[in-house]
């Protein structure tokens, strides 16, 4: 078992003919992901890496029955791509795109909620279930199957932690990048509850960073709802207030969103917080 994606994932790639879309389609295929179709408006009938391209998501669904979509469409057009996938009936959408205006995202989020469609991201590395499916841009080879669920707001920092886990022989059930934007489709709590339900997952790594209160809410959820151990890392202890640290969502505003507050919230409910990324794998080894 795993969460979100697995060997039954039939993937649609929106923006498949772009540079990123093409490159990562090849990488996902090499990993063994079942990429069934691509969409680029006006490019229907072409093939990319042996995958058929359609003009619309509707046509792609009719011909190839995908159950998940990944979006590599540039920011100005990404919300439209999300709506198209949702309206066509795709239940799980992973949006890699960085730079979508937050006012667009709040509309997307509220629309998808009404439709019951799950969105991961945007501005995220995607989701991987090692050995089964890679739906994203993460390096597949650093992952191995195993009992550790990983959820993170970051990209390369997640690879760093996963790499350390793998070197200790600690495999991953699923690793989910939820995205670095202030408003995202799926938050920590939703992924934590999926890991809690997933029989393969025995422990969870949560990688947070400055900005917002998602980590604090996750700490409350862990205290009241989770039986599995969670180990946290929070990036940005040295980040100054009022400055956006790369990610649109990584900013300390009005005195809230500091790493110190988030670490305190985790420690208050007994969640162990690593002081550096590598220590995460040491603590996971202890708790398993």
């Amino acid at each position: 078992m795993s969460i979100l994606v697995n060997k039954h994932t039939r993937l649609l790639v929106q923006g498949i003919t772009g540079r990123e879309g093409r490159f990562h389609t090849r990488k996902m295929l090499e990993y063994g992901t079942n990429v069934v179709a691509g969409v680029t408006p006006g490019r229907g009938g072409e093939w990319v890496e042996g995958v058929p391209v359609f003009d619309t998501v509707k046509e792609a669904i009719k011909a190839t029955e995908p159950n998940t979509s990944i979006i590599y469409v540039p920011a100005p057009f990404a919300p439209d791509a999300i709506y198209e996938a949702a309206d066509a009936g795709i239940p799980l959408i992973v949006c890699i795109t960085e730079g979508i205006p937050v006012q667009e995202m709040i509309k997307v989020k509220n629309y998808l909620k009404e439709k019951g469609v799950r969105l991961i991201g945007p501005n995220c590395p995607g989701v991987i279930t090692p050995g089964e499916a890679k739906v994203g841009i993460m390096p597949g080879h650093i992952h191995i199957p195993g009992p550790v669920g990983v959820v993170s707001r970051s990209g390369t920092l997640t690879y760093e932690v996963v790499n350390a886990l793998t070197r200790r022989g600690l495999g991953q059930s699923t690793a989910v990048g939820i995205g670095g934007d202030p408003v995202i489709g799926t938050d920590f709590i939703e992924i934590l509850s999926m890991f809690e339900e997933d029989p393969q997952t025995e422990a969870v790594v949560l990688i947070g960073e400055i900005g917002g209160r998602d980590e604090e809410r996750a700490a409350e959820f862990i205290a009241s709802e989770m039986t599995k151990p969670v180990v946290a890392f929070v990036a940005g202890r040295t980040a100054p207030p009022g400055k956006r640290m790369g990610h649109a969502g990584a900013i300390i505003e009005g005195g809230t969103g500091t790493a110190q507050e988030k670490i305190a919230a985790f420690e208050a409910v007994g969640v162990k917080v690593a002081s550096h990324p590598e220590e995460v794998s040491e603590i996971i080894e202890e708790v398993l």
Binding site: Q103, I210, G246
Partner: protein, 377 residues
């Protein structure tokens, strides 16, 4: 991107929000002329993009044009939290009966805009939130529907407005929300929203923050960017698509990925150093990108050593190493470097760098220890 008060007020007035009569001035002479036009008591307000202007002496009253000129000269000679005051806003001074607060922000957790109002205006709203949270009233807005007039009225009743102020308050609230949405703001705030002794509602101060991700569709707003908002290095970084934030430490950092960049800074601190900057070079790490990043890092004279931390991932480490070497050739730094490369072809990447006499490291901790040591010597 933060807008100045005078820019925010110009935006507000386009949405029917009453603002004081006023003009922006860059010289004492211009301030005098502005005060003459207003013809009575004025407020001279420093236009800098930091909080706490008032406490720093950046907001003062002047009885007439002559005094306005003098006061403006004083304020224009000031630095507030390190930022030079280049402009002042000369506004008519209002006769204040009451100060309210009205603002719109994005509530990240709900994924909705939230409008907030309080009868405790004129002070920092975070301060009110700490001291008396019951005095702040919030309404979540459905972004697909927008703010409805009844919601604006509800807020007015909550903060105890008189009946005659209901209509002007609602009109201001609806205007503010429209301004927030149409300009892709992440914050639009009137603090204080003044009730004058004549019973008028006027936005005495204005604060607007525009979502950087949306500037591509607001070229007019993008032009309003104040060069003083960023350091020259931050400005250069932005032109290369590099995220860079200057800090006070002595160890320059170059990292791929924002989360890893923050974690790298934290580990430097953990091992006794202080990061000089946050820098995310983004994906790929091509030679020209690396060279630009190095120039930016080294433009900070405080930097005594540099840590490069790259998680190769899909990018090949040997390519990254070559990029770093080409960039070093061009930039010729005088401070020591520690490079940590992980990912595909990492051994080859490390070999290339070691041949060029660079200090390499396999783990982040080892890299941090080495760079902290080098920065001391």
């Amino acid at each position: 991107m933060k807008l100045h008060e005078y820019q925010s007020k110009q935006l507000f007035s386009r949405y029917g929000i009453p603002i004081p009569q006023g003009e922006v001035a860059s010289t004492p002479e211009e301030a005098r002329q502005a005060a003459e036009k207003i013809g009575r008591k004025v407020a001279i307000k420093a236009q800098v993009l930091v909080g706490g202007r008032g406490k720093a002496g950046g907001i003062r009253l002047a009885r007439d044009a002559a005094e306005a000129e003098k006061v403006a000269a004083d304020i224009l000679a000031m630095k507030i939290k390190g930022l030079p005051v280049r402009k002042v806003l000369v506004d008519e001074a209002l006769e204040i009966a009451k100060e309210l607060y009205l603002g719109v922000v994005i509530d990240r957790a709900q994924g909705k805009p939230v409008m907030m109002a309080s009868s405790e205006g004129g002070v920092d709203i975070e301060e009110v939130a700490r001291r008396s949270p019951e005095k702040i009233f919030k309404i979540a807005i459905d972004p697909l529907l927008g703010l409805k007039p009844y919601q604006a009225r509800e807020l007015a009743f909550c903060i105890g407005l008189e009946k005659e102020h209901l209509r002007p308050f609602s009109s201001i609230a609806l205007g503010l929300y429209k301004c927030f949405v149409e300009n892709d703001a992440s914050l639009a705030e009137i603090n204080p929203l003044v009730v004058t002794s004549e019973g008028k509602l006027i936005a005495a101060d204005a604060k607007v923050v525009i979502d950087d991700n949306a500037l591509y569709r607001h070229p007019d707003l993008a032009q309003m960017r104040d060069v003083d908002e960023e350091t020259p290095a931050e400005r250069e970084a932005r032109s290369f698509g590099i995220s860079y934030v200057q800090l006070d430490g002595e160890i320059g950092c170059m990292v791929n990925g924002a989360g890893l960049a923050m974690a790298t800074m934290d580990v430097i601190k953990l091992y006794g150093g202080n990061p000089a900057n946050f820098l995310d070079i983004g994906g790929g790490a091509k030679a020209e990108q690396v060279a630009a990043a190095l120039r930016i890092i080294l433009s900070d004279p405080k930097v005594k050593a540099v840590l490069i931390n790259i998680f190769g991932g899909i990018t090949r480490c040997d390519e990254v190493a070559r990029g770093i070497l080409t960039a070093l050739e061009e930039v010729k730094p005088k401070v020591p470097f520690v490079v940590r490369l992980v990912g595909t072809n990492e051994d080859e990447g490390r070999r290339l760098l070691a041949e060029a006499n660079m200090v390499t490291a396999t783990s982040l901790i080892e890299a941090a220890q080495k760079v902290v040591e080098l920065a001391k010597t």
